[in-house]
Structures are given as structure tokens and as C-alpha cells.
């Protein structure tokens, strides 16, 4: 596979949670996808940072687009505020998905060469997969 893969940005209120989910998703998917953890505020407290999300979007982009997963409701507000300034709405999709399962499913689909819509859909389908 020489084509660019879709990048993933994990936006969490907790830096540790975003980093942990990124670590897990990388291990499950084989480490070929760019996953950027954008967690916590700029000074490391609980909360979200528009600056981190913005940097995450540019670092995760390699030509195939970026799928963003927020952890809780207000992370969505931060991502939307960044996307309003981002301009290219086609290249970024915000996925409504459970954080950990969505991150793993999206990353695996990206690793298999799925396009941005397939990757976002894989994340959102995670809501319907039962664990037990």
C-alpha cells in the first residue's frame, strides 16, 4: 500500500486518556496509522485545547483526510470551533462514536486502506457492537 492513510485525532479531556487510547489503537492496528492524541488543556489540566486540536489536525493529515473522535460532549464544541476556522470541511470528519472502541475500529479500518468515510463509519458502527 503506497496510498496515504487516513489520520486519526483523539480529543479527550484527559491527556492520559487520549495518549492511552492512541497507544492501544496503535498496538491493535499494527502501528501504520498516524494517531495524534490531543488531550487536556495547554497547561496539562483536565479540559480540551483548541490549539492542541489544531496541531493534531495538521500533524495527522497526510493527504487522505482526518477523522476526529471526541470523548465527551464539550470536546465536540472545541473541535467544532477549530473546524469552523479550518476551512477544508471535506478533509476532516467528526465521528460520533464511543471513544475507545471508536478509536480502535477507526484505526484498524484506516490501516486496511479505508477512505475517510469508511473510517468514520467504522468508528460510528462501534456504538452497535456488543462486548458480551
Amino acid at each position: 500500500m503506497t496510498a496515504a492513510t487516513v489520520g486519526i485525532v483523539l480529543v479527550s479531556h484527559s491527556a492520559e486518556l487520549a495518549a492511552g487510547a492512541a497507544h492501544l489503537a496503535a498496538q491493535v492496528s499494527g502501528g501504520t496509522v498516524t494517531i495524534i492524541a490531543a488531550g487536556g488543556t495547554d497547561d496539562g489540566d483536565l479540559g480540551t485545547s483548541a490549539a492542541k486540536v489544531e496541531r493534531g489536525l495538521s500533524e495527522a493529515e497526510s493527504g487522505a483526510g482526518v477523522v476526529v473522535l471526541p470523548d465527551l460532549g464539550s470536546a465536540v464544541l472545541t473541535v467544532r470551533a477549530v473546524l469552523e476556522d479550518h476551512g477544508d470541511a471535506q478533509s476532516v470528519l467528526l465521528a460520533d462514536a464511543p471513544f475507545v472502541e471508536g478509536a480502535v475500529a477507526a484505526t484498524v479500518t484506516a490501516a486496511a486502506g479505508g477512505d475517510i468515510k469508511a473510517v468514520a463509519a467504522a468508528a460510528e458502527e462501534a456504538r452497535h457492537v456488543r462486548k458480551l
Binding site: 498496538q27 491493535v28 492524541a37 490531543a38 487536556g40 489540566d45 475500529a105 457492537v129
Partner: protein
């Protein structure tokens, strides 16, 4: 044009997250529809969560089925992965992802007790206004406090401290050189 292919394998180890991920990544590269069946349950092989949800364990018989233009190749590839990836040490560890670059998010440290205690003693001295010379020459007070600090008993220091110092537990005579900031509760913004 397309045909159904099927092959079974007995697992050498449990079908944990990483083998399930390797299986789903490989399955996703084929055009054919591919499924995995274990213990009477069938999952889409391209769905890592579905494959993990099978809960297939060591010694269990698993069947891979594919229908589509590249079905034989898909079945062969997935059977190989099931054979290799479920072995202990069968999959190499992937490189860790990096966080978004930006301000350091490491723990914030207080300065060491060597600085905190003399500064607090200076503040106490200043607040008591016991000697005009002390408040006029802070450097000397810090130096004296630093010399005196090890001999001074913790109890006496606390007793001499104003209420707001005692309240906040600023005295850490034998503590580590750096003390992590205590957790701050705040609303999730």
C-alpha cells in the same frame, strides 16, 4: 464469477485485541466479504470489534469464510494470520504514537524545600515585624534560616507559623526535593 471459500483452524492462543486487529486489517484489504465463525457465532472479519466480540480462545476451532473475487486469497491470508498471530510473541509490538506537540503537560513541581522553608521563615519574620533589621535585609535572613533550618524542630516551626501556613501544610522538612502539586478539582470544561 465469485465463489465461497471456507477453511478452519484450531487456535494456538486466545484471539485477543492485537491478533483481532491484525486479522481485521488484513481482511479489510480484500474486496471479498469475509467472516469468521467461532463457537456458533459469526462476525465480519473486517470489524475488529466484531472479531474481538467472538471471544475465541486457545484450542477453539475457528472457520474463515469468504465470498467474492479474491475469496481464496482472503481465506488463505486470514488462516495464516490466525495461525501466527495468536501464538505467544507471534506479533511484534507496534511503535508508539506521539502526542500533539505543544506545551509540556508533565506534572507541575513546587520548588524544593531548601527554597520553600527559608522563604516561609522570611515571610513569618516579616509578618511578625519582630525586628526591623530582618525585614530590611532579606538575603541575610534567608541565609540564616537555611543554616538554622535542619536543627529547628518541625513542631516548633509549625507552632511559630501563622495560621495560613499551618493550614496549608507548607512545612515539608524531610520530604522529597520536589513535591507534585496536589490534584485540583475543577469542572470539566
Amino acid at each position: 464469477m465469485s465463489a465461497n471459500y471456507e477453511q478452519g483452524i484450531t487456535l494456538a492462543g486466545d484471539l485477543h485485541a492485537r491478533p483481532a486487529g491484525a486479522l481485521a486489517v488484513a481482511a479489510g484489504r480484500f474486496a471479498s466479504a469475509v467472516s469468521v465463525t467461532a463457537g456458533g457465532q459469526t462476525a465480519d472479519a473486517k470489524s475488529v470489534l466484531g472479531v474481538m466480540g467472538l471471544g475465541a480462545t486457545s484450542g477453539q476451532h475457528v472457520t474463515v469464510s469468504a465470498a467474492g473475487p479474491d475469496a481464496p486469497e482472503a481465506v488463505a491470508a486470514l488462516i495464516t494470520i490466525l495461525g501466527e498471530a495468536t501464538k505467544v510473541g507471534g506479533l511484534p509490538l507496534a511503535a508508539d504514537p506521539k502526542p500533539a506537540t505543544g506545551p509540556s503537560s508533565g506534572p507541575v513541581m513546587y520548588p524544593s524545600t531548601e527554597v520553600v522553608i527559608p522563604v516561609m521563615i522570611l515571610l513569618i519574620a516579616a509578618s511578625r515585624r519582630s525586628s526591623p533589621a530582618e525585614t530590611a535585609r532579606p538575603a541575610e535572613v534567608i541565609a540564616r534560616a537555611r543554616r538554622a533550618s535542619p536543627q529547628r524542630s518541625r513542631k516548633r516551626e509549625i507552632a511559630r507559623a501563622p495560621w495560613f501556613v499551618r493550614q496549608n501544610h507548607f512545612f515539608i522538612p524531610n520530604g522529597p526535593s520536589c513535591v507534585p502539586r496536589p490534584p485540583v478539582s475543577r469542572s470539566l470544561a
